[in-house]
Symmetry: C2
Subunit: 331 residues, 2 copies
């Protein structure tokens, strides 16, 4: 191991260049942040493990970016602006400096792109698979964090972006790689879906609109059907969702047209990292305007209702759809 | 796996009871803290892996407590008071509910004992060994965090508690278990040392004295010799240390008396989780008084000097001691 850098060398070489002001050059035991005046701190943490949450052979930059972005997506859903993050990186014993350089480069690109500097971390060695844990911090004006449990009967339900791409992309990734003789169009559709799986887009631009108008929000990480059920359960409400209104990408529509049972995959699969929000009827137009001004596509998919039942997803004829599997769980 | 609780059930059953106010019952995507007026937030993170940082067969309560305490030790060294922590828990696939119940119990006992509530977390499944990452948050009055790089020539050097117990305890743990025919006294010494390895004591009671009097501080986690060298390197200083003044427990003295080369183990081994601090001469007496009032034993072991050289450790005759291995690295 003598040709390998020590932990201190590794931090100095790969991670110190990514450190924000509060990271103290990663030379202290701890990081320090000064919360913006009048703000509270929102905290979120996600663990990701090779072979469970991503493929060990994914590009190192993509692994790094996804690990940060899934946390940024949580901050966005809470209406928070990023302050920075801490990284625990458990490297398998055969790690390569080239891999780590690309990982740090990807992480640095996203830290800059999303104004979320590295504050600190811990690098350890594991006999197991590559394991990451990122804790991200954000700021919200005091009292203004958007809760998960705020949906009330009558509220409009919105999602950002398109739903199901990542779940279909994961399927392409694992099953579709053999079928190289597909026509050009389906190959580019597959590439789009795989990219949506690899590179989620945290909807930080929507944070202010959510803070100002949403009664409740969460990010969709374990599938729309299961996550909506979770949000309504803690809110003590139910919902009616119009399946025809759920926003699907061209690529997802094409996949579902060819294989209708993939609609269920799209609605129950994980890794969307889009925002699900409830908005009081009286604020719905204002929310739509604020989202448009922020450049984030949102779509009204249904309405919160009274009751404790799981939300009802209705097809174009009004028939409720049932799902074999409500929620994708990484656990 | 159908007899196993889901991730949500598991959180509700084992971890929600540990949640502080800011943890929002662990039912939201994120935690929320309101920083105390006039304070900055100190952040620290440590990853711990079964077979690397602890033994998988250690008592689950002890694993949980050590994971939290190593972070609390960092907060103490920075002069911070705990606000709470976030936990990433990657469970191996054969995890047992009984194990998790004991783990959560130990974590809850220490969260209460050290006033450091659980704020949030992520529980995932790993094909590898049990892996933990804890991010702890603390508060310090703005501008008062004790830095690592503040040691200046002329400052007195102090350590808290006793040094080397954990390294000798780890040795007893791995090598000493065969020798059951030892006399009663050495068995109880071994038990003491092993306990010091398993259950570090975060010196949070010393935080205020450090804030008021220390120019620099860190916690000793990778061995006194290596950690002092790190602190002085970033401070741009050197030091003279009087080995005879380094505080050793009765058990450590007995072990070293029987096997003199264990002195090096004690001074370079890891896991002490004691505080190393530099204090300007003019504040040394006040620091000693404040530490005594806080009930934390501290010992002056040397003096910071000018220069860039590694610190010199001198024996009773004034001869410098050399170490085969400067620092214990988990990495």
């Amino acid at each position: 191991m003598s040709d390998r850098p020590s932990e201190d060398d590794l931090i100095a070489r790969y991670f110190a260049p990514l450190a924000g002001e509060g990271g103290l050059g990663l030379r202290d035991d701890a990081a320090l942040i000064s919360p913006p005046q009048g703000c509270e701190i929102v905290l979120t943490v996600d663990g990701l493990i090779a072979g469970v949450h991503f493929f060990a052979e994914d590009p190192p930059e993509a692994i790094a970016k996804k690990a940060l972005r899934v946390n940024l997506s949580d901050l966005a859903a809470k209406g928070a602006a990023p302050l920075g993050f801490l990284l625990t990186l458990a490297l398998p014993r055969d790690w390569k400096p080239d891999w780590l350089e690309l990982f740090a480069r990807g992480l640095g690109e996203d830290a800059a792109a999303f104004a979320c500097p590295l504050l600190g971390g811990d690098t350890v060695s594991t006999p197991g698979p590559l394991t990451l844990s990122i804790t991200a911090l954000g700021a919200v004006p005091a009292g203004r964090m958007v809760p998960r449990d705020g949906a009330r009967a009558g509220d409009a339900l919105y999602v950002s972006g398109t739903i199901g791409d990542a779940a279909l992309g994961l399927r392409e990734r694992t099953a579709g790689l053999q079928s190289r003789d597909e026509p050009e169009g389906s190959r580019s559709n597959a590439a789009f879906l795989i990219d949506r799986y690899l590179a989620p887009q945290p909807r930080l631009a929507l944070a202010q609109a959510l803070r100002e108008h949403a009664s409740g929000a969460m990010d969709v990480s374990d599938g729309l059907v299961g996550d909506l059920a979770k949000m309504l359960r803690v809110s003590g409400a139910s919902a009616e969702v119009d399946i025809a209104r759920i926003p699907l990408s061209e690529a997802a529509r094409a996949a579902i047209a060819g294989e209708p049972r993939l609609l269920e995959t799209a609605l129950t699969g994980g890794d969307d990292y889009e925002i699900l929000a409830s908005v009081p009827q009286g604020r719905a137009l204002a929310f739509e305007g604020a989202a448009a001004a922020a450049g984030v596509a949102i779509t009204r998919i249904g309405t919160v209702t009274t009751g404790q039942a799981a939300p009802t997803f209705r097809d174009a004829r009004g028939a409720p759809m049932s799902f074999a599997r409500g929620s994708f769980a990484h656990f």
